[in-house]
């Protein structure tokens, strides 16, 4: 059984989709839960297990409109783990999807891009 999870967004938490059978994860919306680590706990637990397998190919579409600083910290930790595991046959692609006039999100994507080495990290600028 592969893992599947779909969480609808709320005013302060994002939409999250994980479809393990397709090697796919997506997040969108706004994220500023009071306790980011608790909110993303289930995702982190799944990801840790998944990254330990020979998963082959994995795609993460990050299309968040807004994230607070503690959400970014949690997401960064996930990306660093992904970066460590994107080796020996395991290919990971992350699309950091941002609106073209969103300087803040573009900057935050570029800062992460500088620090990842194994996974493919694309800052995808879209015209809204």
């Amino acid at each position: 059984m592969s893992f599947y999870m779909e969480k609808q967004k709320t005013g302060s938490t994002p939409y999250i989709l994980i479809d393990e059978s397709k090697g796919y994860m997506k997040m969108s919306g706004k994220s500023f839960p009071e306790k980011a680590l608790d909110f993303f706990g289930e995702v982190i637990t799944w990801l840790d297990g998944y990254l330990a397998t020979d998963f082959g190919e994995f795609l993460f579409d990050f299309a968040m409109e807004y994230h607070n600083s503690s959400t970014l910290k949690v997401i960064t930790n996930m990306l660093m783990k992904m970066d460590e595991c994107a080796v020996s046959g395991n290919k990971i692609t992350v699309n950091w999807i941002v609106a073209e006039d969103d300087e803040i999100m573009i900057e935050s994507g570029e800062d992460i891009q500088e620090d990842v080495h194994n996974l493919t990290f694309n800052v995808v600028v879209v015209d809204e």
Partner: protein, 186 residues
Amino acid sequence: MMDFDVLEFSKMLSEKKITVIYSGPIWADGVEGMAEFLQRKLDVDNLSRTVSKSIFSVFVEQMHNMLMYSAEKEIFTAEDDDDAVLSKGMFVMGKEGDTYFIKTGNVVTDYSAGVLKERIDYLNTLDKQGLRQYFKEKQRSDDDNPESKGAGMGLIEIARRSSSKINYKFTPQGEGFKYFSMSVEI
């Protein structure tokens, strides 16, 4: 207080260019509701995405700081009899010319006051590039829980989004406590 005149208060707020004011309990779901309201207000003002997001971001981080640091608590009895202990604080937003200002106020312990003062003083020595770099260091640091050390990244985020330095004041409030007021411009 029966002699409180709402009209006079309202006039005072417009003289001071204050457009939004909140004083009372602060709790996580309340922050979500207020954030939605703020977003609508910002949409109406028709700002650039960067300015609008900077204001939104400063609001969220300051609210979370108050949730974490406010030493003044109120106990509310919910319908299901589970008492909720909520932080108390004040939030003010206004606009003078093209500049937005955001001010908050809440009671903190002397210990928190010391920590906050030290952090803000340090942030105020950094320029935008320095703040970006410092934020990045915290973002990469190994401690997993972003909330564990309390407001570390939140304050840096506020400093990054502000066009001004972070102004603050601590006023003694009896034994062991201080009133912490903070103000930034965007």
